[in-house]
């Protein structure tokens, strides 16, 4: 089965510019996650979707970050305007939710963002 797809793989922008990342989850996975991984640290959750609804966005800097999953399948994450501290790898993950059962998460290859 195909894994989680992300694009682009790399992006270099200047501060105050905007950028968008795209994610397509594993087919049939209702839950989609965006994580931010700063160099030397573990990934941290930014936002979690269940179908096209937001479950958790408590760690999303909403003044500059936004995300959507309009049709409950693929998703975009946007940063506007970017700051130097946004330089990181942005990882998308998906999982199959069955009732209250907690399921395994699978990750895409990530997008490495450099803000100059």
């Amino acid at each position: 089965e195909a894994g989680v797809a992300q694009s682009p793989r790399y992006k270099i922008i200047e501060k105050r510019q905007s950028v968008a990342f795209w994610c397509n989850p594993i087919s049939g996975h209702a839950t989609l996650y965006w994580y931010q991984q700063i160099l030397g640290q573990g990934p941290k959750l930014l936002i979690q979707f269940q179908n096209n609804g937001v479950v958790d966005d408590s760690q999303l800097p909403k003044d500059r970050f936004s995300a959507e999953r309009l049709k409950g399948v693929d998703s975009t994450l946007k940063i506007q305007p970017a700051k130097l501290e946004d330089s990181a790898v942005y990882l998308c993950a998906s999982s199959y939710k069955q009732g209250r059962l907690v399921n395994e998460q699978f990750f895409g290859p990530g997008t490495r963002l450099t803000v100059l």
């Binding site: 573990g42 958790d56 907690v102 395994e104 990750f107």
Partner: protein, 108 residues
């Protein structure tokens, strides 16, 4: 929130050696996953292990949820095992909280 600590932070092995990585967590969890992040940044699923023991080739993992720890065993290590190993726990609503990571370097 929950704290997830991994040890050791860094590990250097000769090819063929065995090792044990540890993950301690500060509260009850619903589930636990082990990942290998390769040098290209890809997170590879190793184990989905809320409790008990699982084995996959040269790797095995044991989680003792009542004592809040998990162990990852690597036997006969190879250079391709190099990278960072993360454990991550589910605390409800399927949110994953990642540990501090163990950086492994296997030399030939």
């Amino acid at each position: 929130g929950i704290q997830v600590e991994q040890s050791p932070p860094d590990l250097i092995l000769q090819e063929g050696a065995n090792s044990t990585l540890r993950c301690n967590f500060s509260d009850s969890v619903n589930n636990l996953q082990w990942f290998h992040q390769n040098p290209w940044g890809q997170l590879i699923n190793l184990f989905y292990i809320p409790s008990g023991t699982k084995q996959n080739g040269r790797l095995s993992a044991t989680t003792v949820a009542t004592e809040r720890y998990s162990l990852l065993y690597i036997s006969s290590s190879q250079t391709t095992d190099s990278g960072v190993y993360f454990c991550a726990v589910n605390t409800g609503f399927q949110k994953l909280v990642f540990g501090t990571g163990t950086r492994l370097l296997v030399s030939p």
